[in-house]
Symmetry: C2
Subunit: 259 residues, 2 copies
């Protein structure tokens, strides 16, 4: 495998930092190539603005259009170009981050906002009577897999089917389906560590063992069975799921899984 690890935590001596280090050593020891985007160490610029598009920024700024023009012209900033190159190089992407306020930290969202430009991650492919662009299962990053490795402060029960925070799969859906699957990446079931705020050094060996096992079985793990957009399950252009495809009673985000 060629694995890119995108890592977002301000403290190297954190649980997230340890999990990132363990991912590097475990994958390299198994003969895989690994590159790391350590967003805090890189002092990653988190905020989209006109400076991102250099000579291709218009006034007034149009984020989608201008980012696409800069992508086509090769004039995106070097930091963004480097991340796009890493994504094209990788066949597997691991995201290591703490769940802050039920989603990724701002620095990682800013990596998505800036790297996933128009014409690279969206605005790809043609529109016709049978195709609504290359998205959700097709796109620039098709053929790649991704794994979210997430630490969560609260206990697992709060993220269960009836838990007050909502089910973890639903909380991660906007990332797994909306960010990753959109440009073609196939997300694997996430690796979630609950109760991270109360974890002690004594808990770590078990955590490390579980994480190593996930890493060493990445290649044989089945991706989440999201439905592809352009292969008959959706009406075009409304992109409504056709009636009758889902198990009885299923609603919401779960409609977009085949299993």
């Amino acid at each position: 495998m060629k694995t890119l690890i995108v890592y977002a935590h301000p403290e190297p001596e954190s649980l997230n930092g340890s999990l990132k280090d363990l991912a590097v050593s475990t994958l390299e020891a198994a003969g895989h190539e690994v590159r790391v985007s350590d967003l805090y160490a890189m002092n990653w610029k988190a905020v989209v603005d006109a400076a991102d598009y250099g000579p291709d920024a218009s006034s007034p700024l149009k984020v989608a259009r201008d980012s696409g023009r800069a992508f086509d012209a090769g004039t995106l900033t070097p930091d963004v170009l480097a991340e796009q190159e890493k994504l094209l190089w990788a066949d597997t992407i691991v995201f290591q981050f703490p769940l802050w306020w039920y989603t990724m930290p701002a620095i990682l969202k800013g990596w998505v906002d800036r790297v996933f430009t128009y014409r690279f991650a969206y605005g790809v492919g043609e529109h016709s009577a049978t195709k609504y662009g290359e998205r959700f299962g097709e796109g620039t990053l098709a053929g790649r897999k991704a794994l979210l490795s997430v630490t969560v402060g609260g206990p697992e029960s709060h993220y269960a089917a009836r838990g007050i925070n909502g089910p973890i799969d639903d909380l991660l859906f906007p990332i797994q389906h909306g960010i990753l699957y959109y440009p073609g990446i196939e997300p694997l079931p996430p690796f979630v560590l609950y109760g991270a705020d109360r974890m002690t050094a004594e808990d770590y060996p078990d955590v490390a063992k579980a994480w190593e096992q996930r890493l060493l079985t990445l290649e044989s793990t089945e991706p989440i069975a999201f439905r592809r957009q352009n292969f008959g399950d959706y009406e075009i252009p409304s992109l409504h799921l056709k009636e009758g495809l889902e198990p009885t009673g299923r609603t919401g985000f779960g409609l977009h899984r085949r299993d």
Copy 2:
């Protein structure tokens, strides 16, 4: 009303900029007090790091604990203290932002990550057999209402019950319930403009009229009927919703609404 508008768009001459300006003028003309946090104009620091906690940052950094200690000591940075003060001043908070990759732009997530510190927005209240802290309907910001005003590039059908992106209410749940309701703010039904990427100057008068109407009826709008945590609907400490409270067949995020 005392309204705080938190606004996140890099271009003043954008649809988001126009909606923010119209909110200010409409509310002021109706006799309300308005303050604006224009995150791009303020050059808002989006990224949590040790510098946020000054002398109260520990090494290794512990984000929750250190932010709470700095909050208690009054040593949070002036930019964060100013936002906390605005939130305490306001009775109504309007968030104006574009939906980027199915959630808020990084600069606004960074406002949440930095302003919603431990002891201010979480880690508030006691734990007992009948109470799991003051959260979800109680907390520092109880008594306040919030309105998300969101522009969305795609068409409404893609965000419908069977739409490929998932229902808009589910996409906004981690913000409305997880970020706003958690410290006690009651979210109102959101104001969502679809098809923003294809909107023209000719469409704007109708949009402006609808937005003015929402703004002028904020005080009489019923909040979303989220369930309060500590008033009998949830088992403590598992925070599972008790059996039988929901309409038959309802699952997922929808469980946490009383209606």
